[in-house]
Assembly symmetry: C4
């Protein structure tokens, strides 16, 4: 296992091409947020918008519409039960993030299956939270696309069948190879399983151990893969690294880091990285 | 084509007359924001309020009412399906902005036609986004008033019939003359076609290439034309210039600029300009 | 006519007695905000809360409940159509503010009459906006209580019968005497008619000429009279002075002042005043 | 009666263990917020989230869902009338806070009884506001668990039967012993009755005498007891001390302290304390 280091950031977050328009920076669809867990999809969507994704749409329970627009007018909203609209949009976007606050109800499963039926191999599909649990529980096949899972250890146990105590690099890697997906296994020192390597995240702290932190990560992975499409794996690695690097900066002043604060810090953090260019060392201590 | 320069700002944004009241600074009606695209009309309205328009009313889908009041108590809200109320208000205001998030549904068209039937030649009508697409698709005649279109290139293709690749100054100008309207053609280096001249905006950057940036511009053009009525064309030019000048300032610290951040920076930016008076050079680098 | 000067501030805004609880600082009920003008009652309520009123309740259209709680969890909310609840609360509070965004509909009138029937001579009643228009239009008698009107010139014309052009000190004063009320006549250089004197406000600027500025003033007059009950007239004078003094401070950096910004600046401004004590001159330039 | 001093803070707020996840820092359920008093439960929940509780769920009137998610996406929301969901969640959490804005209606009582039937002796139950009044009025038995009451003097009179004028240390302590609960008696110089001692809070000021201050305290006591479980009494003492210590810092710049401002300052305040370690004196003046 190799330590992920800060050089991944400047590899991915480069100055934007000036000849561009919002379509250049990707379209994303985030699916989640039932009547109980609306905050999860709000945090994921906030992360996507502040990452700089060109166009962000949220498919969610209509009850969350007003709360989303209240704080994130930059996002568009559709009803996640509108099968046709969700299917059409799924086909059009660059990245789909599914799971934050989706729930595990009959309705949740129907939404998941609708989305999964309409992805294609050119897209990135980030599968998080209850979407992972639903797949495992109901034996739902993995959809088409470049798949990225963002499970915590219990969700990974459900999906992979590997008990938490047995989740070693070797066995995790074996299941990853069968899935042919990127796996971001969230834990103290998160591990990232790609098609060629296994990375360990050496940064981050217990100040991040609060609800919503994972939703924000899923939204950032979505935002980065939608926008930095040259190398999807690197985009996911950079998102994961940036998420904890920003949290570490905030944790210098705070006992806990609120997930939305990471998103709000993204535009400033990404600017600093983009200015570093390819020739400079980054001042993170790892 | 002439480069638009920062001198337009101080020409337009002058100190407010002290003998005044809120009516002095214009009344505006913004029409848009269906069930899916509520954020668009929120961003446009925010831009109008922070520009300093005297009275701002938003005609929108009632679902957006709560989100608007949550962040913008300074705006009033009416149901855009209330034909009579919209018609009455349309007749009373100085500027109408129609299009941000309006959608392209049967309902959207009915709302557009209602508004178009009630404008008059003393008013400014800013036509943006789906309103342009609807006009082109359904061959809806241009309404009465000082018309300002704010299309991106594809919307301009729909309205003018000129393919994007063929959108040269000469042909664009020809269609503009037929329309007898101001056209703010949004692109990398936005072009503004007025009755006498064609300007190119030499500022702005890819940090602005995110959803909602155009809605904010439409709201600013609305806010400036409602408030600075001495010369409507200059007001529109100043709004366009200010929009990117503020974005450039924010982009010095941020990888992307969130549209609402431009609006929130407006009162401070406009103050700086108004203090420059007529005798000073402005410190923008162009 | 006497110029109101900054000494009124330190007369009224004195350090809080330490042996106190929230009831010490008054209870207020604000009534207004129909389906269209919800923002008005939000701005008035924000002003009351940030003034430091002990307990703030808003009687409004239920559609505004969510937007109020989104930005002002410190306020309580009741349905302004709940005749019984409104009547009961009216009887219990120290100050009632009625009018911001109330509207002029049948419903609005019924709400007004319900409130007016339940005030008593120990209370302050601040009558603003559409409440003034309704009283004039429908010949509704003035309620019991220490009455404070906050009309702009057209509303004063409606209430007093004096045409705007004829609104001189002498005739205004005559009507005020008949009403036996305090009248805060909002205009360029606002005038305040009390039982013994007429004041002119020498501060303020055109940066305040935006919608919602009067709603914020009404909320501040409410908040000050609920809290500083030793001398109601002085409390109203101090609120009016503070409103423009804060706006002038903000306007040094901003082309326009957003009404909610005045409210948010109140706790800091009032602290500065309370520290000045009785022996110091205040540094406002007038 | 012993003066509570700042050393309680560093005893409780120690650096987080790095080998941890969000479950390490507790699960909390807050119950309250009817159609009128939604703000109360929002303020309590905000305090819990910003304290750093691992997982925060709010059981409230569905009308408050949107306002909660608008400002606090980190919290989850369930309908407080959903008897089964509330019962299940009650059994799973570490701390329950019940009362802020719950109301005193038939519905409120049913919700209270449902929660009380499902607590157990391993949990902390913080009983505040209308929950105290309901228990006293309807003779509802104290639930299982480590009970913490947070009454103001009138609520304590209702619960204990001791008239405010008679609330001396001796009689208060006697009732506390019968209840076998911690009692945080909110007043000018709040008193805390624990199983072994009585403390007086020597800090705090009249700047805190505004609605919602107690809701914020209840949420902090909840957040601290959910997270710092080694010594529940100390956690409650630290929360009470921190609440006024932060308020005192804010009150140096503000005439009144808005309750939500205390919550927003919590992560920074707690960081400072956690850095002080066990060997340093804290710079509070008492």
């Amino acid at each position: 296992m190799q330590k992920l280091d800060s050089s991944i950031l400047k590899t991915v977050i480069t100055p934007r091409p000036q000849e561009s328009f919002k379509g250049t920076f990707g379209k994303i669809l985030l699916v989640g947020g039932n009547h109980q867990f609306g905050g999860a999809i709000i945090m994921a969507s906030t992360a996507s918008v502040y990452s700089g994704t060109g166009l962000v749409t949220v498919a969610t329970d209509p009850i969350n519409s007003s709360a989303i627009h209240s704080q994130l007018p930059e996002a568009m909203v559709i009803d996640f039960n509108d099968t046709k609209a969700v299917a059409q949009l799924t086909e059009k976007v660059d990245t789909i993030v599914i799971g934050p606050g989706l729930g595990e109800e009959v309705e949740s499963k129907a939404i998941l299956e609708n989305v999964f039926q309409h992805t294609n191999e050119h897209q990135v599909v980030v599968i998080d939270g209850s979407a992972i649990t639903l797949m495992a529980r109901d034996h739902i096949a993995q959809p088409k696309g470049h798949i990225i899972y963002t499970p915590h250890q219990m969700e990974w146990q459900r999906l992979s069948g590997i008990k938490i105590a047995d989740q070693t690099e070797t066995v995790n890697r074996k299941v990853r190879d069968e899935l042919n997906a990127t796996v971001i296994l969230k834990k103290h020192h998160t591990e990232i399983y790609t098609d060629t390597k296994v990375y360990q995240l050496p940064i981050g702290s217990a100040a991040q151990a609060v609800g919503g932190m994972g939703d924000t990560l899923a939204g950032m992975v979505g935002g980065f893969t939608a926008q930095f499409r040259k190398n999807i794996t690197n985009a996911a690695l950079a998102a994961t690294y940036a998420h904890s690097a920003i949290a570490d900066e905030i944790a210098e002043q705070q006992y806990v880091v609120l997930p939305h604060q990471i998103s709000h810090a993204l535009p400033g953090f990404m600017k600093k990285i983009s200015l570093m260019g390819q020739n400079h060392t980054i001042g993170f201590h790892n």
